[in-house]
Every structure is written in structure tokens, then in C-alpha cells.
Amino acid sequence: MMVISLSKDVMRIIKDQDVVPFRNRVKEKATKIKMGLVNQTKLITAASELVRNMLKYGNGGEIVIEVVSRGRENGVRLTFKDKGPGIADISLAMKDGYSTGKSLGLGLPGTKRLVSEFDLKSEVGKGTTVMIIKWANG
């Protein structure tokens, strides 16, 4: 089934201070489509993971926040685009506990478990794009 975008917002993330307003915006959208508290928290946590990755490894970037609909389901789609160094080995990056930085290494695999749909594209030297969707009842 087709995923239709109902509203679209673009936010630029450059510094740490941009994380909180971005999270609030995501929360706003999630509340609007009546997403439950647990799913909301999962979405916000996933968004938070990805935005931190973007800041840490990609030097910031752009996030598209969309309210999407597929049939009777509504959801929030977030697309994170950065022009950072890219990910050399995606399957390794998706493994629990693997990190090139000194973090827990749960960001990417954890995020995938938190959301309904997860898509990661990366080209070394060009940048990384991550798309996630969380359905209101997913």
C-alpha cells in the first residue's frame, strides 16, 4: 500500500541545542495523530538516538518530519540526512554493541527495534540517510 505524506517539516540540526526543540516537534506530531504514550516514547527515543548519531558522526544535517498515512494507519516518518563520512559496513553497524565511538553501540540496532520501519542508506565519503516510520498503533 502507498504511504502518503500529509504534512512536511524540515529542521536543520547543527548543534546540541537543536536536539530538544526537534524532539518537541516530533512529540507534537505524534500527539496530533493520537499515538499512545509508549509508542510516542519509543519514537522520540529512536529520533533522539539518530539525531545524536547525526551530530556526533555527521556534523549535523537535515531532518524531514512528516505525518504519513497508509490506508487506515497514521504515523510519523522521520528522514535524517547528513553529509558526514558515511558508514563503511552497514551490517556491522547494525550489530548490537558495535561502536566506532566510545558509546554502548546500541543506537542503530536499538532504533530499528523501536520503530515500525527502518531504512538506512549510506555512501562512504558522501553521507548517510536514515528513514524511520512509527505507526500510531504499530
Binding site: 546540541d16 541545542q17 536536539v19 530538544v20 524532539r23 504514550l37 509508549v38 510516542q40 516514547t41 519509543k42 522520540i44 527515543t45 533522539s48 538516538e49 545524536r52 548490537d96 558509546s103 554502548l104 546500541l106 543506537g107 540496532p109 536499538g110 532504533t111 527495534r113 523501536l114
Partner: protein, 289 residues
């Protein structure tokens, strides 16, 4: 060749300054509550002086010329102090734009008989002054941003209190996002307080943290390990149901840490470790009997 703009400016420096100050003083938006007339005069005079000395016929068309560095320095200095003093961007902008008006009207007086060169020279001057105005705005905004950043730091500092809830028990309510800088402050305050009070238990309450992602969890784990190194035990409280589910899905292992749902249950647990008991007093019973 008719008179050049730089020569006119040097010759009529004092009348430019007078006109400019007149403009500023007669302006309704004059903020004599923020800056005294003397100060205003001093900074205006300095700017006109520097501009007259550095301006010549070759660099007038190039605002990025090195000759203007002292001018830009003064403009930047003025707008920075104004941003801190609480001037509005409009007032700061008008300050520099007022100088343009003054110079142009002097130019007009000097070149009355030659409209073509008046126009040509005016255009050059306007371009240069517009460039200066833009720089004024840029530095003004920078000044404001610095104010905001300073406030952010202050908020981070005051929002991490360490409370002594009982003899030997500390509580640390965390409100807002737990980032690296914040964790540093939290950890420092907590460890310091543990030494000072000789406490053996610390309760870290995260009910005010909106989302616990892997970075926040990592910071919590670090804080707990540091506390343990100091010989104290750390209890994490305020874990809401939705946070618990999220943490499990993320795959964060917090099983080595003592966690409680509420601050009350954490305190109760702390009491039991310290072998303390909270009991109702017997008074009521005796009066009933």
C-alpha cells in the same frame, strides 16, 4: 577631477560628526536610559575619525579591504556592547545607518554643482555603509547568542541540586535532558557531596528526564560506576512504564543497577539497607485506649 569623497570626509569630518550626533539626539528612539550622551558622542567620534583616516579613493569600493579592519573592529565592538546592554537590533542598526545619512548630506552640500559625480560618489558610499550595516547586524546577533549560551550554562548549573534526604542518603532529581556536559556537572556535584556528607547511598531520580536513549543510559551507568568507586551505592528511581519498555527494546542492560519506579520506593529501599525503620507513633493508640 572633482572632489573625492575621502577628501571631503577628511575636510568636513567635524560637520559630519555634528550632523550625525544631531540625528541621533533628535531621534525618538534615543535610549538615554541605556547610554549617556557623552558616551554616545565618544563612540560616534571614534568611528568617524577612524573612517576618515582609513578611507581613500581606491578602497571605497571594497568593503573587505584590509584598510577597514580598524573600522570594522570599532563597529563590531559597538554592536557587541549594545547587544549586551539590551539595545534592540533596530536601534543598533540605525546607529550605523545614521552615519550614512550624515555623510550623504555633507556630500550633497559639497558637490551641489556636479550632480553626476554626486550620484556616483553617493552610490559608492551607500554600498560601503550598507556593508558596514550588515556587519553590525552580524556581530549584534553574535552578541545576543553569547548571552543565550551563557544562560544555557547557568540553567545547567542550577538545575542539578543534590539534596540530603536523610543522614547518609542523598537524592539527586534530574530534570531535562542528560547530555555529556550535564552528566559531568551531576557527577561532580554528587561525588563532592558524597565526600562532604559521608553518605553511603545516593538516589538518582530521573522522573524529569523526557527520554532515555542509549547516550543517557550510558551516562547513568557511568555515574553509578563512579559512585560505586567512591564506596557508595546508587539507586535509580523514577523509571516510568513507557521508559522501561523503551529501554528494553533498545537493548540497554540496566540489570546491574538497582532501579525503582518511584522516589518513595527508592527511599524505602535505602532505609532497609541502612537498617532504618519508619513507624507510626504509638500515641494515637494510647489515647484510644
Amino acid at each position: 577631477m572633482s572632489l573625492s569623497i575621502s577628501k571631503i570626509l577628511q575636510k568636513r569630518k567635524s560637520s559630519v560628526l555634528e550632523k550625525w550626533i544631531q540625528n541621533q539626539l533628535s531621534d525618538e528612539g534615543l535610549r538615554d536610559d541605556l547610554i549617556s550622551n557623552d558616551e554616545l558622542r565618544a563612540s560616534s567620534e571614534e568611528l568617524v575619525d577612524i573612517l576618515a583616516t582609513n578611507l581613500n579613493d581606491t578602497n571605497i569600493e571594497d568593503a573587505n579591504s584590509e584598510d577597514f579592519e580598524p573600522v570594522l573592529e570599532i563597529i563590531a565592538g559597538i554592536s557587541l556592547t549594545r547587544a549586551r546592554q539590551g539595545f534592540s537590533p533596530r536601534e543598533t542598526g540605525l546607529f550605523v545607518m545614521g552615519l550614512k545619512d550624515a555623510i550623504l548630506s555633507v556630500l550633497q552640500e559639497e558637490m551641489q554643482e556636479d550632480p553626476t559625480s554626486l550620484f556616483r560618489e553617493s552610490m559608492k558610499m551607500i554600498k560601503l555603509m550598507d556593508n558596514f550595516s550588515i556587519i553590525t547586524f552580524e556581530t549584534f546577533i553574535k552578541g545576543r547568542e553569547e548571552v543565550i549560551l551563557r544562560q544555557t550554562d547557568e540553567i545547567a548549573e542550577i538545575s542539578t541540586p543534590v539534596i540530603r534526604v536523610w543522614d547518609g542518603i542523598l537524592a539527586l532529581p534530574i530534570i531535562g535532558t542528560l547530555d555529556s556536559a550535564r552528566t559531568q556537572v551531576v557527577m561532580e556535584n554528587l561525588l563532592q557531596e558524597i565526600v562532604q556528607t559521608g553518605s553511603s547511598l545516593a538516589i538518582l531520580d530521573i522522573s524529569g528526564v523526557p527520554a532515555v536513549d542509549s547516550l543517557v543510559a550510558q551516562h547513568i551507568i557511568k555515574t553509578v560506576s563512579a559512585t560505586r568507586l567512591m564506596g557508595a551505592e546508587c539507586i535509580i528511581s523514577g523509571i516510568r512504564p513507557e521508559i522501561a519498555q523503551t529501554v528494553v527494546h533498545l537493548g540497554i542492560d540496566l540489570s546491574t543497577i538497582i532501579t525503582k519506579a518511584t522516589l518513595a520506593s527508592a527511599l524505602k529501599y535505602a532505609f532497609s539497607i541502612l537498617k532504618l525503620e519508619v513507624r507510626k507513633t504509638q500515641k494515637e493508640k494510647t489515647t484510644l485506649l
